[in-house]
Symmetry: C2
Subunit: 383 residues, 2 copies
Amino acid sequence: MPRCLVIDDVVALRRDLHAHPELAFEEKRTTDLIVDQLLHLGLLPQVLPGGTGVICDIGTTGRMIALRADIDALPINDLKDVAYRSRVDGVCHGCGHDAHTAILLAAAAELVRVEVPGRIRLIFQPAEESLPGGAVSVVAAGALDGVEQIFALHCDPRLETGLIGARIGPITAACDQVEVVVSGPGGHTARPHLTVDVVYAMGRLITELPGLLSRHVDPRAALSLVWGAVDAGRAVNAIPMSGRLRGTLRVFDRNAWDAAEPLVRTLVDQVMAPSGARAETTYQRGVPPVINDPTAVAVQRAAVVSALGPAALAETEQSMGGEDFAWYLDSVPGALARLGVRRPGAAPFDLHQGTFDIDEDALTVGVRYTVALARAALARTVE
Amino acid sequence: MPRCLVIDDVVALRRDLHAHPELAFEEKRTTDLIVDQLLHLGLLPQVLPGGTGVICDIGTTGRMIALRADIDALPINDLKDVAYRSRVDGVCHGCGHDAHTAILLAAAAELVRVEVPGRIRLIFQPAEESLPGGAVSVVAAGALDGVEQIFALHCDPRLETGLIGARIGPITAACDQVEVVVSGPGGHTARPHLTVDVVYAMGRLITELPGLLSRHVDPRAALSLVWGAVDAGRAVNAIPMSGRLRGTLRVFDRNAWDAAEPLVRTLVDQVMAPSGARAETTYQRGVPPVINDPTAVAVQRAAVVSALGPAALAETEQSMGGEDFAWYLDSVPGALARLGVRRPGAAPFDLHQGTFDIDEDALTVGVRYTVALARAALARTVE
């Protein structure tokens, strides 16, 4: 069987992906690389209908489990001074999807070498960083047909390298996207009273909406609105005609999630009313919480213990992060695990920072875990 | 004497300038056009040392007065649906400087035809829309040497076409530029508590600084801080590392103007403190108020009456607008007048709007007034 060099070197693979990040649904080069690697393994990868993302099966008979990696990057600047830093301005693998992809490819290389009692479907999914997420189109393409359990992992800088975090039940939050376009007639900064001060109106939305939501929603729902981007005007001395404010709304509680959209729309209109500005709210309902199946978590834990020993097993909290892996779990049971990527003693850092980087020792941990996970899951499902 | 066609058609001239706007200190095409027109009049235009803007004298002996037009455009989008709309994306003559320039050129064409008892210095000034303003470099280039009085006009949509507004004493406000760069470590919108929420911090500055200033400054000083532009972040789900906020601070009172910079710096730091964000304030002191000389205003009024009749004379208020014409008045006496540009019955509109346009009948009014003004000023100064 032909074997390419890169796939045996998970660090090189991850660095190559890291240097060439691509945004949601634009993962052309990444898809080509995945296809090349899988072809070298003698597998038959299928590119997804949208042109990015790949599905590929290992094995041809028996029950089937799926392993999913997400492949897209974020629209943020890479601020690291390393040889493998992003070569694309304003795009960066600031969420570790490069690691997820490299780990799944390297695990595949190992899994084709060993006998597996069933079939493993590899899902290299595009557009996890968009809402409602690329998972929706993957599911629509039939990727879950015949799949009995599905698994994924996500880099977690709160956990030290060597640890895998598992949790039964909800492990992420619901996450929606809120966009408000505020507009008025524009004018001269000398005469705000003759027009509508759009920037000031946006300032009120930025500060008041989170506070007002906290007075309308049970604190135990853990609802949190955080703005990620604001943009209005170019001239220092002209009041702009419009501006745009974008952010995420995250919430643990399902009822609060259902109530969030109409509540946000009402509060935006009420906060805007005294300013005279027009506000157009676009509320993009995102993903529900990822709810890990207890049986699938048991498989994860067994895999951690067999591959890394019992000390590698960590509990983890429900995160406010959103994950479109939730959509797969609407159809089949499964579980998401957390992969520790913080070098012991390293300073705290977080996902989505321009300085985000992983301890690359975590890559082989991830590969060993993933290989063991696939085998444990199939061993279980063929029982 | 050669005579180009355009200079006799002030509407065509204004429309040509309007369609080709240029930002502060980039007025190359505008400068070339002015030079061409003046050469066609048999004059000897001198381009200013910075490469844009023009000085040109009519007449060679006798006492000298100056007429100033500003030639730059604004960084705003032209939103008009007219044949002469801006052909430059994001740049627009939204302040009427195209009209000022066309009027002074057309007045020059008339003034070279008639006998004038002295010298008229034409000043086509770049960069009025920047701070501290292009006037500073024009004065530094010696443009006021030998000048006894200087005059300018500015389009005013509050006045109907046919009216010229005059005022003794302050007619504009002091105007400074405030820029605050807010920064933090960046992070994930799921975990604002682990980083600094830069957009939220900026929202607090946007809303709180104007209110706090109003509690620290005598209301009679008419101090007003208005933000024109805000920009932070691109990803909806990532907290950005920095953002920038820019606006103008305007004030009538000279003492309040002197106190404004340290006050703004202190308040910015205090408002930022609870957010944990770092704020870097750049305070660009701008222009003082334009203070019209009583004798120069008397000349203006005489010119209005002789050119347009007494009904054309209007009083005008002190505006919150800033004008770098103030710098000329530091050296020589003079006055700024307001040119009515609103067609009677037209809906209210303001300078610096993307929909700003003038009633072009105001152009011939401006030319007739300017010619009469030059003659009246020289008649007076040679008395």
